[in-house]
Amino acid sequence: MNDIVAEVLQGSVRAMARLITLVENEDPRALRIMGTIYPHTGNAHVLGITGSPGTGKSTLTDKITAILREREQTVGVIAIDPSSPFTGGALLGDRIRMQRSAGDAAVFIRSMATRGNLGGLARTTADVVKIMDAFGKDWVIVETVGVGQDEVEIAKTADTTVVVLAPGLGDTIQSMKAGVMEIADLYVVNKADRSGADELLNEVNVRVEQDAQIRKAPWKPPVVKTIALENQGTDSLVEAIDKHRSFLRQSGKLRRNRREKTRQETLALLRDEISRNVLEKVLGNGRFDALIDEIVAHKKDPYTSVQEIVSTIFPEE
């Protein structure tokens, strides 16, 4: 298995694609593989693109990629679409808007299905980011599923989060709400040629001003107007992304943010590991179903039972 990691580090696209599948399938070997990948990560700038369905995330991703390629930067793209909660299948349709990059060996596009994860990403997206980073991509762009209001996981994965909005999807109150509107390092008002675009731009600017009054922050999210299909405003967007990237580096915020992300990721891994271990022990000895019978018969209660189980596995010293 270390061979595949070596191949990825040497630049084999095939090996990277295979490795991503292993990680995506949560193969038992994945943890060890990610352990060997980890030392090679931390160089890519991770750009998150999020927003409601149909706001133009994929098209913007395509245009941003093209601009980065003009600068001879290499780009990995992860495009996420939802899995069906009923069949588990998925129709992954983002790639269709990313045709400009087709045939460019310096661009690697991977579609991912959410596989039941609800935060706007797949469970393993952060690991796939690391694989592309280790492979040597200068930029990794993560396009989330079309989000509603509450899917903010991207902010934990990306260095720079772009929230894409389009006119016609709601009134002022929408832009005042919590959730997605709170995670933007940059706002994009896309489809700016449609009616309602100026009103939306104004609303978002008002929100940004309100935020600045409510709490002092060293970074004020810019609001960029684009018509992605016609490539209008996309240069300004990438300039704004550059500015945020410089801000992160110069202010030390990049280091602080990544430390916090590392802390959260490590905690999550620890939680997974503990629950896997504990559940293996609890479910492995065959007494669990007997316990459930007793609880159903009201001879025991679930609250005390759980405490008892945990204290036998982790006896107090």
Binding site: T21, N25, E26, S83, G89, A90, L92, R95, A102
Partner: protein, 134 residues
């Protein structure tokens, strides 16, 4: 639903014909059957299709052609897949394929050819039976 291997399909229309109702329907049919389907859309070159298969680590490439270009495009996709070390990817095709072309396409490495009127269940079964990773 997590941690389960799923069949990954690239659904593509090579060549210049602009009719993708069949391809889109099948993309949905495969997704409903629990597969993860990357729909790449119209006017794909064999190179684009194979690039997508490579990056997506696809198990299956589904090709649809209604304009009579299948005898060039389908074998070309198979050939390019082999060149890239993706010889284990299952290639299936559909659309308007004359009876007399089928044997040649099979010989060229297109594992399954499905013309109009094929039951979608049969295509799903064919794919499930011919992919090792399902």
């Amino acid at each position: 639903m997590t941690a389960k291997k799923r069949i990954k399909v690239i659904m593509a229309k090579p060549g210049l014909d602009g009719h993708d109702r069949g391809a889109k329907l099948l993309a949905r049919v495969f997704a409903e059957a629990g597969m993860e389907v990357v729909y790449t859309g119209l006017r794909q070159t064999p190179e684009m299709i194979v690039d997508a298969a490579l990056q997506e680590d696809a198990d299956v490439v589904g090709l649809s052609s209604l304009s009579g270009v299948h005898n060039y495009f389908f074998p070309r996709v198979v050939e390019l897949l082999k060149e890239k070390g993706l010889g284990d990817v299952l290639v299936v095709g559909g659309g308007i394929i004359p009876e007399e072309d089928i044997a040649g396409l099979r010989k060229a490495g297109v594992a399954g050819i499905f013309g109009p009127g094929t039951r979608t269940d049969d295509i799903i079964k064919f794919i499930e039976n011919h992919t090792s990773r399902s």
